[in-house]
């Protein structure tokens, strides 16, 4: 029998609903998910599943993480467990690939950090995260109707003229995008209690029509989700060339890290994974969570 280690997905408060959510739930590598209880009063649980040390030991794990196919499978499975739990109860998602030697070690972690977890859980209870991405549609980026070609204009001049026309068209689109971004933020703020800015999505993994110009996450009370979604969508109605994509509800990934303790060394502030991109960042507008965070650095 291969050696096993324990993969941890999330921390939550113990509840019967949680136990129900777990029945039949499979995690990474199709391993069965179970709960480990801990915390001072045993009120906290971590959802974990046993995985092969051959895949999740230090060396293999490092190698696997370089493999996008493997990474995708694990990321989706990780997310799948968190999402299944979030259907029933508020959880604190842990970073991908948090692995312990055994359940006892997980319990020890819960005991040591119980206070921090409890605080954050209290803050997030009955809230979910919604993602809001704004796109400039490709059609809107197309050059405007051709500038009337004049025969006497040399190729250089024609080129410059065309470039100018293109730039103006782009300016218009971006101005529209800007006002859309403001409308969306205004609408979203009416419902959201926290906001985090992620990096805009570009590149191979983020294919799709349009150019992503904003990528935000909002923490919204559970029962206001639909209002939030429809208001955000309404905010861009009638704006040509602008598309808004609302995703969610998500587990509060972007808000799981304790924000308030940021400067107190309480938990190792950035520990939460939010490297202060701008040390003196504006709190409300862009919580430490700027997606740009850490590595953006």
């Amino acid at each position: 029998m291969t050696e096993q280690v324990v993969y941890a997905y999330a921390v939550a408060r113990d509840s019967t609903e949680l136990a129900e959510a777990l029945s039949g739930l499979e995690g990474v590598a199709r391993s069965p998910v179970h709960l480990v209880r801990g915390g001072q009063g045993g009120e906290l649980v971590a959802a974990v599943s046993p995985v092969d040390a051959a895949d999740f030991g230090e060396v293999p794990l490092r190698r696997h993480l370089e493999d996008l196919t493997w990474l995708e499978a694990v990321a989706r499975a990780h997310h799948g467990v968190i999402e299944a739990l979030t259907e029933r109860i508020t959880v604190l998602p842990l970073r991908l690939a948090t692995v312990y030697l055994d359940d006892d070690r997980v319990r020890g972690m819960l005991d040591r950090r119980g206070d921090v977890f409890a605080d954050r859980l209290a803050r997030l209870t009955a809230h979910v995260e919604w993602g809001v991405k704004l796109y400039v549609e490709p059609s809107a980026e197309e050059p405007p109707p051709a500038v009337p070609a004049s025969d006497d204009a040399g190729p250089g001049r024609s080129y410059l003229r065309r470039r100018r026309a293109e730039r103006h068209a782009r300016d218009d689109v971006y101005r529209t995008a800007r006002s859309a971004a403001e409308s969306v933020a205004e609408a979203a703020r009416r419902y959201a209690v926290e906001h985090a800015r992620h990096r805009v999505q570009q590149g191979e993994l983020a294919r799709g029509p349009g150019e992503n110009v904003t990528n935000d996450a909002y923490l919204v009370p559970l029962e206001r989700g639909e209002e939030f979604r429809s208001e955000v969508r309404r905010a861009v109605e009638g704006l040509s060339g602008i598309r808004v994509e609302v995703t969610g509800p998500w587990a509060p990934y972007s808000f799981a890290a304790p924000v308030e303790t940021h400067d107190e060394g309480h938990e190792g502030a950035p520990a939460a994974g939010e490297p202060p991109d701008a040390p003196g960042g504006v709190p409300g507008e862009r919580p430490a969570h700027r997606g740009t965070q850490r590595a953006a650095p």
């Binding site: 941890a8 999740f56 230090e58 794990l61 993480l65 995708e72 990321a75 990780h78 799948g80 999402e83 979030t86 259907e87 604190l92 998602p93 970073r95 991908l96 690939a97 948090t98 312990y100 030697l101 972690m109 950090r113 954050r120 993602g131 730039r167 782009r170 971006y174 101005r175 995008a177 800007r178 990096r199 805009v200 570009q202 590149g203 993994l205 983020a206 110009v213 639909e226 979604r229 995703t247 969610g248 509800p249 998500w250 990934y253 890290a257 400067d263 107190e264 309480h266 190792g268 502030a269 950035p270 520990a271 490297p275 202060p276 997606g291 965070q293 850490r294 590595a295 953006a296 650095p297």
Partner: protein, 220 residues
Amino acid sequence: MTEPVANRLGSVPSRASPQYGQGSSANLADILERVLDKGIVIAGDIQINLLDIELLTIKLRLLVASVDKAKEMGIDWWEHDPSLSSRAGERPSLAAENRRLRAEVEELRGDAALEPAAERPRARRAIRGDYKEHAEHAEREEPGDGEEEYAEEYTDEYAEAVHEPAAATEPAEEREGTEPPAEAAEPAEEPEEARAAPARRPARVRRTEPGRRPGRRGER
């Protein structure tokens, strides 16, 4: 008790709803930016080493996202002073680029007291690995060998780059406790951390030295 409106819209934000969330259809980029970049970071027993996750995250960002790229492309207008907004989306014209370069040349030639350039292209910071190389290279350079300016600039940037994620790369044990964030601590208070810090601290010290550009003064 679900709101009728919510019912009509099809996706009910009720915990009980089977339609909850994104399911398997969720965009991989959306998932990765959350599971790799968000969520609580706690040190497990298996140290894939948070640094590795950092590096992985950076690599993925090249695939998934980059604000820096956005800035490079001039689409970060909403982060700027509103007075600039009329030029929203305008990419730097050649003339503007020219002016900027001239200004930089002037700066390099002249003002020794000048603060580090405030507007260094942030795009570079995304590639921290490269920074490290540059910075280490820079650290080895002797002052006055002609590459100093270059070296110092990269050192400065490297210092910025490594400064932020510092806590994420701390050894596990330290992050378990209630240690203050690494950047708040003085080297003397964290001797065991010294091994993780050497590249960082000298750079930080240099940043704050008043006479930090001796070479430049020498040239005048």
